[in-house]
Amino acid sequence: MLLAVLSGFLLAAVAPWLVPRLGAHAGRVLALLPVGLFLWFASLLPAVGGGETLLWEYAWVPGLDVQLGFLVDGLSLLFALLISGIGALVTLYAGSYLAGHRDLARFFVWLLAFMASMLGLVLSDGLIALFVFWELTSITSFLLIGFAHEDKTARQAALQGLFVTVGGGLALLAGFVLLALAAGGWSLSAVLDAGDAVREHAHYAVIAWLIFLGAFTKSAQVPFHFWLPNAMAAPTPVSAYLHSATMVKAGVYLLARFQPALGGTDLWVFTLTLVGAATLFTGALLALRSSGMKRMLAYSTVMALGTLTLLAGIGGETAAIAFVAFLLAHSLYKGALFLIAGVIDHETGCREVPEMGGFGRAMPVSFAVAVLAALSAAGVMPLFGFIAKELLFESALGLAAWQPVVLTLTLAGLVGGVAVAAVVGLRPWIGRPVTTPREPHEAPLDLLAGPALLALLGLLFGLLPGLAERGLLAAAAGAVHGQAVTPNLALWHGLNLPLAMSALTLVAGLLVAWRWDGIRKMLVGLGFVERFGAERGYDAGMLGLVRVAAWQTRLLQNGHLRYYILTTLSATALLLVYALVTRHAVIPPWSSSGVRLYEVVIGAVVLMAALVAVTTRSRLGAVASLGAAGFGVALIYVLFSAPDVGITQVLIETLTVLMLVLVLFRLPSFLGLTPGRIKLRDASISLTIGGLMSWLLLDAVAAHHQGSISRYFVENAVPAGHGQNIVNVILVDFRALDTLGEIVVLGLAAIGVYAMIKLRAEDRRRRGKEEPR
């Protein structure tokens, strides 16, 4: 199993070497791998169809207790078969479609890597592994879109698609972390077993929303639907494979996968049915508005994804069957239609539907395939799409809440769907032949094999629904529903409401298709879609983000050191206040007893000096009053029996004042440049910090924390240091190493200064020599 998933990566790694050697056969040879994988997965059918769930386990990250487990049940097998099967056809197709392209090898690297990631995604049992593969599909798909980047639209679309899907992926990651915590395990099996615990968990809503976010972004649900059509700038095989058959279905895969564990709640049903129905309707509307063939198909894919979300939301047995049937039908016909769009582009050079016409004569096989696929897409009788559509109506009718809204949106959307199918399936082929950039001619076998096979399968499963049902769909629906189901797929269920609705959509859709040109012009005229569309929202959001960022930069990073210091200090003060207030600290009471008069006088002098220093308009005055404050402090030292410190303070103060006076002597007086607002701000910060320090001081005075160290020196000065002068003993004995260090530093500094002076002198002498010349 590990090999099955990794073989794609391995082949991708050697592809750059292999492809040039294979030349024109590259596509055919490389397609052998997905074919082999398809056959291998098909060999698992009997076991899985019998209701078994197969598990493979490999140790991967022991530290995080992450197993690399693979789980194969009906749902994952259905996906694996689609991925490998369509993968094989697309590889074959791409070999011919891009023949002779300069970077063909690189293309195959990403295509195969993508296929392997996609297989890993649907087969993983571990949430982590699932997430890893999930993001890998985003990355490889980005590289695949980037492959054809001559296109200007591709450039704009690239970042958008990548950001939306990767961002949604990160949300999904958070959802997974919470989910694993709620379920008590990191594996899908554990999550699926712990459904009740998850649904009753306190964080259920958060988990569900985060997972929705991941699924909606990946599966292009409203309001994230805009990135998918924009990603259509990719080469056609990529669009066919990633953007219709596989990658975008990852989101709905996730929803279906988690339905047994998370589904069934009001939140789940409401959100998914409403979002699904809204997406269905929006997709149809936008598809009819477009003119590019691929764009129309892209929006109709959005429609289909909405349908699948809707079905995942409804829940229950019928909806589960409808889900898997619709999934299969859509992959078959949409893959075929995309590939046909590529054929038209390749053989005629046309991309816009209104410019097409009359190709049917030159390309009869393509025409037949297109009609077959379009019939399935429209849900016409003997094709598989019909069965899927019937089931969809049946499930929607079974909905308990919001039924009218959902039903209306669904009906309206499906009318559009039929119209799109009719336009795409008929418009290019019938009518008068038009002049095209290239003379239309039938496509080679490699290009036609894929779409033809897919379209024929749609017919086969329609005629013999039991074929798909017995082997696979029953098991897949069982996995979605959470318990075994007994589907009964048939073309004819008698005359009932779903049949009537089906007929209604068909007729209305054909009418719309008939008048499409007019309707499209009318829809294009409705410019409000663009003004209020989600894409506009995305753009505005991004612009807003950039604006906020620029504004913040100006605010916080203005380049001025003084603001940096200001921020640092005020943040520190705020942290202090926060820390003190959260612990309900109290300011200790201050008693004035024991304060002597001259202490009060000195204190008043210092305070006055400080006040003068901040209010005076003369620089000299400010320096002088600062000096006065300093001398006051020195006096306090002296009073509290620290004469040596006092003397040092006096010396320092004198020196500072003198130097400042020398510097400032010639400067003019202050001009009052600082506005009052800033003065207020500065005052509040300094008062806060001063207040905090006073608080600290009061507290420190109130409680004596450690014994005094002076006793130690008094006791040990004579016996250990043999000296009567304690300060002296401290300096030369107890802290001898300190003193030695200081001397060394001073000595080094002196040598440095000497060297610099000497260098300068030499420099001057040299310059003096040079000057006379």
Binding site: L64, V166, L545, A549, A585
Partner: protein, 480 residues
Amino acid sequence: MSFPIPDLVPAIPEMFVLAMACTILVVDLFLKDDRRDVTYGLTQFTLFGALVLTWIVHVPEARVTFSGSFIADPLSDTLKSFIYVIAAGVFLYSRPYLKERGLFKGEYYVLGLFAVLGMLVMVSAYSFVTLYLGLELLSLCLYALVAFDRDSGRASEAAMKYFILGALASGMLLYGMSFLYGLSGSLEIPVVAEYLIANAGQFSVPLTFALVFVVVGLAFKLGAVPFHMWVPDVYHGAPTPVTLLIGSAPKIAGFAIIMRLLADGLGAMHADWQGMLVLLAVLSLAVGNLIAIAQTNIKRMLAYSTISHVGFLLLGILAGTQEGYAAALFYTVTYAIMAMGGFGMIILLSRQGFEAENLDDFKGLNERNPWLAFMMLLLMFSMAGVPPTVGFYAKLMVLQAVVQIGMTWLAVYAVIFSIVGAFYYLRVVKLMYFDKPADEPLPVRGLDVTVVMSVNGLLMVVLGIFPGILMSIAALAVGP
């Protein structure tokens, strides 16, 4: 009075680096400019030798020496090894850049080695004095290195700002530590820790001051908001090789002192500092990620991205559990490797008279050199935290640690800002893959640099596919 000779064996790597740095300083004096490669070779030899020595003298148990102020334990030896390797990578990337600009001087290597020594001392510090000693040794070397290109006005300005703000923060840290000393009567971290455990639950104002000052000092050194202002200016202003040095290995040393000071020393006050770190982390994530979007200079962008990564790192630490510390260690090492690659790439693309430091300089890199573009893509995805790169596991471990202590809202908040952050990393990828290149030719680089860049980029994926290696190292280092 007797002086016991301390057990010197645990400090042999430090002594080796010191001796070699001094030797290189002298040897370099006698080298002519065209023989400067000898200095470079000796420097790399020093780092390699120190790595070997570290593991020769390594024992599984913790050893404390120098009167309880120096410790060698699995944490220190692991972190030191990462520091050697990353510093070696930094020197390797820098050489062509320095040569082209006439900056290929012995000072860069000697100052760099002393900075490494400072980091080693920080990592092994077991008392406030050693810790401060290491921190200042590192900081002083970095201040000088930022101003290393003397002709650049921007570099001088950055150095000046860095120095003044750094001195302020160092002062605060020292002030906080002096309070702790005054309260507990000891400079040794375990003794302080014991004192705090014995007095747990007792509130005191000086202790709160001590805590706040220590946290502020650490937050500044790491560059957490709102003490981050130096980061963009210094990253931008400094010559890119110096930015590379500042942005990578010192983060590991910073993590070490946080572990020693907050986790070991102030572990008993976890509830108190947790709130502050939450505040810092929340601000760092928001400000770092948002402002990075507005940057057009990639060095500034990476500076803000550093700030946001610091937010993540703090998340792991504030959890206060072994898982949280292991996650933070994992994150730090991962980040250091990513930052090395990111800044290394700027150096790689720069050439004489041209700095590839604007985002636009990355336009169309895929067309000019697909391999380098792919490496940068891996680095950017790793920084954004996208699997299968290692950055994803770093984020995942941190998120798990945060969720485990019940702070779900914080995890969700962090994820929201990771999504915002993904935007600017992905923008670089988009520029490389989708935009048309300018017609500037790419400089031709030596094999060594290209190989290291390839290893650096591929490491993102290899460690991402097998994160177990790094995880078990992190878990072992942090201890049971």
